[in-house]
Every structure is written in structure tokens, then in C-alpha cells.
Symmetry: C2
Subunit: 204 residues, 2 copies
Amino acid sequence: MIEKGLLIVLSGPSGVGKGTVRKEIFSQENTRFEYSISMTTRAPREGEVDGVDYFFKSREEFEELIKQGKLLEYAEYVGNYYGTPVDYVRETLEKGRDVFLEIEVQGAKQVREKFPDGLFIFLAPPSLGELQNRIVTRGTESEELIRNRMNAAKAEIEMMDLYDYVVENNKVEIACEKVNSIVQAEHCRRERVEKRYKKMLEVE
Amino acid sequence: MIEKGLLIVLSGPSGVGKGTVRKEIFSQENTRFEYSISMTTRAPREGEVDGVDYFFKSREEFEELIKQGKLLEYAEYVGNYYGTPVDYVRETLEKGRDVFLEIEVQGAKQVREKFPDGLFIFLAPPSLGELQNRIVTRGTESEELIRNRMNAAKAEIEMMDLYDYVVENNKVEIACEKVNSIVQAEHCRRERVEKRYKKMLEVE
């Protein structure tokens, strides 16, 4: 019997740098978990590649997949759908591999309901002011969009309660190190190890 | 108001390599926790230094400290007392520094009762056979002492239930890395961060 993999969920306010942290983690050679690529109806940003950063879909395609129950979670956010294809997640966990999701907070809430044992990490901005700077600096969004994002972010920070861990994104390298530590620590949790370990001792 | 430090307790069966792991951790430059030196009535092994490895005390001195309530925990183990001076631990935690204890399992149980929020890490042998090898290889103990140790170890492994985390001591470097990850992860736990973080946001 293969022990199931761990579902790792990285989420947090829009603009906090979830994508950057995720990319940094998966650029490291020793990363031992699998990235579940999200699906979205928003337009690709410069440099984003279909099937790498996201699966880019039309609104019609996305709504069809919702109907078919093919999404573990989905959310409409600033006018676009974001979601996680369910089959890949379940199959990979069954193989005993850890799966890493980088998703919006609305989606994380849905995943928590379906996977209460998942590992939920909230990526937090050093401050809301800092968060605003980052969104403005990105420079690709209108002022109205920025205001909407800020209001959404304030609400999202209130959602921290849902998570097991909070990682402040001051420096991306440190944030990545903390995420890796959290995953490694979680694999050492007594409840997870105990059963396997005691069985090993019985065999002798 | 200073946030209290974290009490980290590393324990596990005799002979599993607690001392080696502890020394490796404290030889690393980036270790940010304070080591609480244990007190014992056993004779120093070769190379052990009073006030560095242990505070070596006579039986009479030790029993006097027990009477005065100066020990956070103590245990009699294979005919010798082992214990943790309480004042150093409390003062260091109050300063907001993490304190690291490396103690026997009997002692860890007592600490758990007094510090239920502590971080309890069980250092586990890859197998009981491997444990026996290590005790024999150490080569400084009689056969009877080894048998006693093995029986004690089997009983101690049953005590894993008391701990938050289990780290298998296959390779000392990996065990150290895991202990460090566990401490870093624990500092990111939502319950710990949340209060401080929400206050920070209110200030703006």
C-alpha cells in the first residue's frame, strides 16, 4: 500500500507574489513535489505560456468543465475564472507524490472543505502598503483595478484563519525556504510517521 | 511586549544519537536557539566537558536541587540522575529566545506537562537493530548495560505518542536539517503569527 501524497496549498492576497514564490520553488533542483497547473479565463500576461503558467481557456470551455465536475475548486476573480483540474490532483496524490497548488483564497476555501488534511499556507504581504506598491509597480493594471484588488486583499487577509501556516513574503528566497521547511516538517508529524514506523518495528 | 520564545525538546531512546544531532545543530552558524545544558550525576565520558556537555553533579547535590524545585524535569536512568535547571529555561523564553533541550524520554514527559505548547521532537532509530549496533559500537558499556538499554529503548519507542514530530536519525545532517525545518515551520504556524500580524495591519 502506497502512502498518499500531501496536498500543499499556497494561497494569499492577489499581488502578494504567489506566482513568484511558486516559480522559485519549482526552479530548485531538490523540489520533490508536483505542480498542479491552474486553469484560467484571464488573458495571458507577457511571458506567460499556456500549459506552463496556466491552462488558458475560454469562458465557455471553463463553464463546461464546471458542469462536468472536473474542477477541484474554482473562483471568479476580478471578472475571470481561475480553477484547478481535479483529475491530476487525485491521481498524483494516489501515486504517493505531493501536489502543490498555487491558488486564490476563494479557491483555497473550497479545497479545505474537500481536503481537510491538506497543508494550507497563507502567503502574506509585509504590510498592506507594501502590497499596494507591488501592484502599482507591476504597472499593467488600471487604477480602478488596483482599488478593487486592494479591497479584495483586505478581505482576504481576514481569511488567514483558514490556514495552517502564514509565510510573510518579504524576500522570495526566504519565503521559499519557509515553504520547503513547512512541507518537510509536515512529513515528520508524529501522526503521519507513527503508523508506518510502528509497523516497521513489528517486522523485526 | 516581547513574544515568548519557543521551547524545543529533542528526545528519543538512549543511543539514538540525540547528543550528536544536538552538537551538529549548535555547530551551525545560523542556529538561532539557545541550548539548555543538562545536569547529570553520571560520570563524564571521554571528551565531555563540565558546563559544556553537562553540568556534572554529585548525587547529593542533585537531590538538593530537586528539593529546592530547581529542576524543570529530572529522571533516574540506568542508575544516574539527568535533569534540566529551570531558571535558565524560563528566563531565556521570557527574553523571546527559543530554548533547545536534549533530554531523556522520561524527562520529556514531565516537560510536556509543564509546557504543553512546547515543540516535542522524537529522534527515532532507523530500526531497533540499528540502535543496538550503535550502542555496541560505542564500546564503552558492559553487556548487561546494553541489554538494559535495549529494553528501555523498546519501551521508549512506545512513548512516541507524546511527541509532535518524529525525525528518523539515518544521517545526522539530514536529521539536523529536519529539526531546523520543524522549528522554522513552527514559527510560521498560523496561531502564532496571526495575532501579531493582524495587529500590524491595524496600525496602518
